[in-house]
Amino acid sequence: MNFRTRMLVSFALAVVATAALVTWVVSAMTRRTFEQADDRRTATLVAQFRREFESRREELVRRVEAIAAMQSTLDMAIELSRPEPDYAPYVNEAGALAAAHALDFLELLAQDGAIVSSAQWPARFGYKAEWVKEQTEWKDAFLKSEELPNETALAMVAVRAVSAGGSNLYVAGGYRLDRGFLGSLVLPAGMRVLLYHNFEPRFSAPALTDAAGPARDAERLAPLIEQVRAEQREVARTIEWPDGPETFQAIPLAGRQNELLGVLLVGSSRRELAALAARIRWAGALAAGFGILLGIALSYWLARRLTGPVAQLVRGAREVASGNWNTRVSVASRDEIGELARAFNSMTQELIGQRDRLLQAERVAAWRELARRLAHELKNPLFPLQITIETLQRAKEQAPGEFDEIFCESAATLLAELANLKAIVGRFSDFAKMPAPQLEPVDLNEIVRSAARLFDAQLHAGNHAPIAPEVDCGPGLGLIQADPEQVTRALHNLILNAIDAMPEGGTLRIRTRRLEGCAQLEVSDTGQGLTKEECERLFTPYYTTKRHGTGLGLAIVQSVVADHHGKISVESEPGRGATFRIELPAR
C-alpha cells in the first residue's frame, strides 16, 4: 500500500468514524427525546381515556336515573308494592325501556330482588338477583359480570331504587363492555382499547377483544394480562409488532367485591414516532454517507495534493538513478515538501558538478594510466633494442671481426622486439577500434560449446597444471539478439582470464541459464580470487592484476556487454575463485 493509499484510507476512516459517531449521538438523543415525548403522549391519552370512561359512567347513571324518574316506572313501583303483585304485565317493560334509553342491559327488580323484567335475558323473570339487596344506597356505576343465556358478559351497571308503598323497585341498567362499547369510545388518533374478560381461570385468547372483534396476536399480550391478573395493579409495557411498537397501559377492572372482572388495555401506537425516528436515523445515515463520500473525495484530493510533489521527487530520484542527473522537480509550495524538492534539485546540481569533476579526474587518471602503461609496455621492448644497438656499436669498435655475426644476431633481436612493439600497438589499436555490434539471432549455448572445444587443448596443455572444464548449458535458453563475434571474443577473454587465474590448475565452469527477460552467462574459476578493491577496479581499462597483462581484456568484455545493453558483474573472495556473470537481453 503506497503512501497516497494509506493517507486516503486514514482520512476516510477518520471521516467515517466521525460521521458514525455523530449519527449515533443524534440517533440516541432523538430516540431518548421521542421516548420521553411518547411517554407523555401515552399518559395524556390514558388520562383522556379515563375521562371518557368516567363520562360514560356518569352518562349511564343519568340514564338509569331518568328511567327511575319516569312516571310509568313509579306507577309500576306502586303496582308492584301491592300484596301479591302481578309481574306479568311488565315482563317486556325492560326491553322497551332499554331500547328507548340506549342501554344494553336493564332489569327491573322487585323489593326481594326478583326479576320483574329483564332486557338482556327476558326469560329470567321471577328469578332473584340477590346482589341488589346487598346495598341500601346506590351511587356510582360499577362493573359486574352479567349472566346471559349463552355467555357471561362484562357490564358497567348503575342502580337506582324507586320507592313506593314502603317497598323498592330497583332499576339496574348498564352498558355491555364489549367490542361495541369499545367502538363507541371516542379515542384520539393512534390509540386503541382492548378488553379482556377475566372469566376464565387462565388466560384465554378469545376473551381479548378490540373494537373490531377478537384481538389478533392475543398471545403476545398474554404476559401483560397475566401480570395484571397476578398483581391486580396497572402495568405498562411496550409490545413490538411487525409494523412498529405499541405501548399498552393495562388497567385492572374490578367489581364491587374488588374481584378482577377484566383488564382494559389502552394501546398507544408508537409507530408514527418510530417512523419519525427511523426517518431521522435514515437522514442521519444519508448525511453520514454523503459526508463519507465527500470525505473520501476530499481525502483523495488532499492526499493527491500532498503526495503529488513526493511522487515528483520519486520520479526525479528514479531519473537520477537511471543516470539522468540533469533532473529537476517543479514544486512551488513553501512547505516541507517544497523544501525537500528544492534540496533535491540542489542535490542533482551538485551531483552533476561532482560527476563532471570526477570525469575530468578520471580522464586525467586514465591518461596517466595509459601513459604509464604505454611507457611500461614500450619500455620493455625498447630496452633490448637499446642494448642490442649498443652491442652492435661496441662490436663495431671492439670486435670488428665478429661484427657480422653479432650484427646478424642483433638484427634478429631487433626485429623480434620491433614485432613485439607492433603487437602492443596493435592491441591498443584494436581496443580503440571496438566496432558497434551487428545483432542477429544467436545461440549462446552453441557459442559456449564452441569455446569449450576451442580451449580444450589449452586447458590440458603441459605448460601448466591441468584445468577441468565444466560446461552447463541451460535448457530452453533460445536465441538472443547479439553480435556472435563480439560475444565470442568476450567469452574467450573471460576464459583466458580464468586460465591465467589458475596457474596451479583447477576447475573452469561455464554455465548458461534463462532468466526473466535475459540470458545469463557465468564463467567461474577456482583460482586465487580477487579482493574487494580489485573487483571494483577490474573493468577499468588498462588495469590488470597480471604481471604481463595489458588491462584491456575485461575492459573489452565490459565494452561488448555494454554495447549489447547488458550487465556484467563479478563475485569473488580471495582464495575462493571468481565468478563473472553476464546478462544479455533476450529480446
Binding site: 306479568a88 315482563v91 317486556n92 327476558p122 326469560a123 329470567r124 343465556p149
Partner: protein, 441 residues
C-alpha cells in the same frame, strides 16, 4: 202554517229521529267492509275458508253438530253408513245448484265413499264415523267453476285473491240469508306489531293477538275474543339424535319446566298448563296429568353436563321467549339448552292444532302431527281407554305437553255481533253474524 205548529212538527221529527237512532244502535245494519289482518297467510283451500265453503253439518257454540248443507241424517248401527238429506234450494256462488252428486264428489276419498241417492247423499266409511266428523273442514263441499276456480256455498264468496290479500263479498243468495257485511278484506302476513298498530289507528277491525298484546289492545278499547284452548304447545324430541334418545334427559327436561311462571307471565294467563295432549274442555281428564315442576328429581336424572339444542319457529316470537324460559329452567337442573331459531335440533318447540271434532279424533290427529305412535285403532272409544292411550303416548316423554292455548282476536269497538259470538269455542269465525256499527269516515 202557524209557528207553534211548525215547532211541534220539528219536535216530533227530532223525537222520531232519536228513536230511529236508538233502534239503529241495537239492531244490526247492513253494509260495510270488515278489515281483517292475519299473521300467517292462508292457502286457497276449502278447508281454510269456513265462511266460503260449508260442510254438511256445523258445530255450534257448544260443539254440537247442527244442520248446515244437510237438514237431516240417519246412520246404521255400526256408524259406518250415513245418509244425509240435503237442504233444498242451495246454490253455489256461481249460481249452480247444490246437488247430491256434487256433495258426493266432494266427500269421497280418505276411506270414505259417497254416492247420490236422489235428494240424498249416502256416505260409507271404513271406520265408524261420528257425526261431528261431517263438520270437519276437510269435508267442506265445493265445485270447480267454469274457469276452474273453487265455488262454495258459504255466506261470503271469494271476490279477489292474491297471495297476501283476499276479499270476500257477501253472497246474496245464501240459504241462511245475506250476511250483514258487504265484504271482508283480509290482509295476511302482517306482524303482530303491525296488526296492533293498525287496530289502534283504526285501520283494522279484527286482528290476531298474542297473549302479551291483550293488555295493550284492551287499553286501546278493543274487545277481546278468545276461543277455547285449541292449540297444543309442546316440546318434541327429534328421533335419531343421540341426546334426544336419552330417556332420563327427556324426563329431566319435562320435570324442570316451570309451566306456571310461563303461563302467568309470558302467556298472561291466557291458556292452560298442559300435562296431557288434550285440553280439559275436550277430554275432561286433563287435570289428571301433572304439570308440577320437580327440579330436585330432575337434577337427579341429569348426569354430566349435557348440552341440547332447542329449536323454535323463527317467526313465532312468543315461542322463542318460551323456549328461552325453558332453557333457564333447564339450566337450573344442570341441563344446558341452546336455543335456536329453526334448523335441526335435539328438541323442538311445536304448536299443534287440536281438532274440535271430539276427544278421540283430536287425540288421533295430535298423535299423528306430533309423530307419536299411530292411534288409528283405539281399543275402545270409552274415556278410560282414551286416557290410557294418551298416558301411554306420553310416558316416554318424547313429547312434553306444555300449554293449551286459545285463539285470541282483538276486534275494534265498531264490530258488533248479532245472534252468536264472532268467534266460536273451536276458534272458528262467524263473520256472517257480524255487522259494523258505523261507516269509516
Amino acid at each position: 202554517m202557524p209557528r207553534s205548529a211548525f215547532h211541534l212538527l220539528a219536535a216530533a221529527s227530532l223525537l222520531l229521529g232519536a228513536a230511529s237512532s236508538l233502534d239503529a244502535a241495537r239492531r244490526p245494519r247492513y253494509g260495510g267492509t270488515l278489515r281483517v289482518e292475519l299473521r300467517v297467510a292462508r292457502a286457497l283451500e276449502a278447508a281454510e275458508w269456513p265462511m266460503t265453503f260449508e260442510t254438511l253439518v256445523a258445530l255450534d257454540e257448544s260443539g254440537r253438530p247442527q244442520p248446515a248443507l244437510a237438514i237431516s241424517w240417519r246412520h246404521d248401527a255400526s256408524g259406518r253408513r250415513w245418509q244425509f238429506h240435503l237442504r233444498p234450494n242451495v246454490k253455489f256462488h256461481d249460481g249452480s245448484p247444490l246437488t247430491a252428486e256434487a256433495v258426493a264428489a266432494a266427500l269421497g276419498g280418505s276411506g270414505w265413499s259417497a254416492r247420490a241417492a236422489g235428494e240424498e247423499v249416502v256416505v260409507q266409511t271404513e271406520a265408524p264415523a261420528p257425526l261431528p266428523e261431517f263438520a270437519d273442514r276437510r269435508r267442506a263441499v265445493f265445485v270447480r267453476g267454469a274457469d276452474g276456480s273453487l265455488q262454495g256455498t258459504g255466506p261470503f264468496r271469494l271476490a279477489q285473491w292474491e297471495p297476501r290479500r283476499a276479499t270476500l263479498a257477501a253472497y246474496e243468495d245464501h240459504w241462511a240469508g245475506r250476511p250483514f257485511l258487504d265484504a271482508v278484506a283480509i290482509e295476511m302476513g302482517r306482524s303482530a306489531q303491525q296488526q296492533l298498530l293498525d287496530l289502534e289507528l283504526g285501520k283494522a277491525d279484527l286482528i290476531e293477538l298474542g297473549p302479551g298484546d291483550v293488555r295493550r289492545a284492551t287499553q286501546s278499547g278493543a274487545r277481546i275474543w278468545t276461543s277455547a284452548p285449541v292449540t297444543l304447545m309442546a316440546l318434541r324430541f327429534e328421533r335419531g339424535r343421540p341426546l334426544a334418545e336419552d330417556a332420563k334427559l327427556r324426563e329431566a327436561l319435562a320435570l324442570s319446566i316451570d309451566r306456571a311462571a310461563i303461563l302467568n307471565v309470558l302467556l298472561q294467563k291466557r291458556g292452560e298448563a298442559a300435562g296431557g295432549l288434550l285440553p280439559q274442555w275436550l277430554s275432561g281428564y286433563a287435570v289428571l296429568f301433572s304439570t308440577a315442576r320437580d327440579a330436585a328429581r330432575a337434577r337427579q336424572l341429569v348426569t354430566g353436563a349435557p348440552v341440547l339444542s332447542l329449536a323454535s319457529d323463527p317467526s313465532d316470537a312468543l315461542a322463542r321467549m318460551i323456549a328461552d324460559r325453558i332453557a333457564v329452567n333447564a339450566r337450573e337442573v344442570g341441563l344446558r339448552l341452546l336455543t335456536q331459531a329453526g334448523g335441526n335440533a335435539d328438541v323442538r318447540l311445536v304448536r299443534a292444532r287440536i281438532s274440535p271434532l271430539g276427544a278421540e279424533q283430536a287425540l288421533v290427529r295430535l298423535a299423528a302431527s306430533l309423530q307419536l305412535p299411530d292411534l288409528l285403532h283405539l281399543s275402545s272409544p270409552a274415556l278410560e281407554s282414551l286416557y290410557a292411550a294418551e298416558r301411554a303416548l306420553l310416558e316416554d316423554h318424547r313429547v312434553i305437553p306444555l300449554f293449551h292455548l286459545p285463539e285470541i282476536y282483538g276486534a275494534s269497538p265498531r264490530v258488533k255481533t248479532w245472534a252468536t259470538p264472532g268467534l266460536l269455542r273451536a276458534g272458528e269465525w262467524r263473520l256472517d253474524d257480524l255487522w259494523l256499527d258505523s261507516e269509516l269516515p
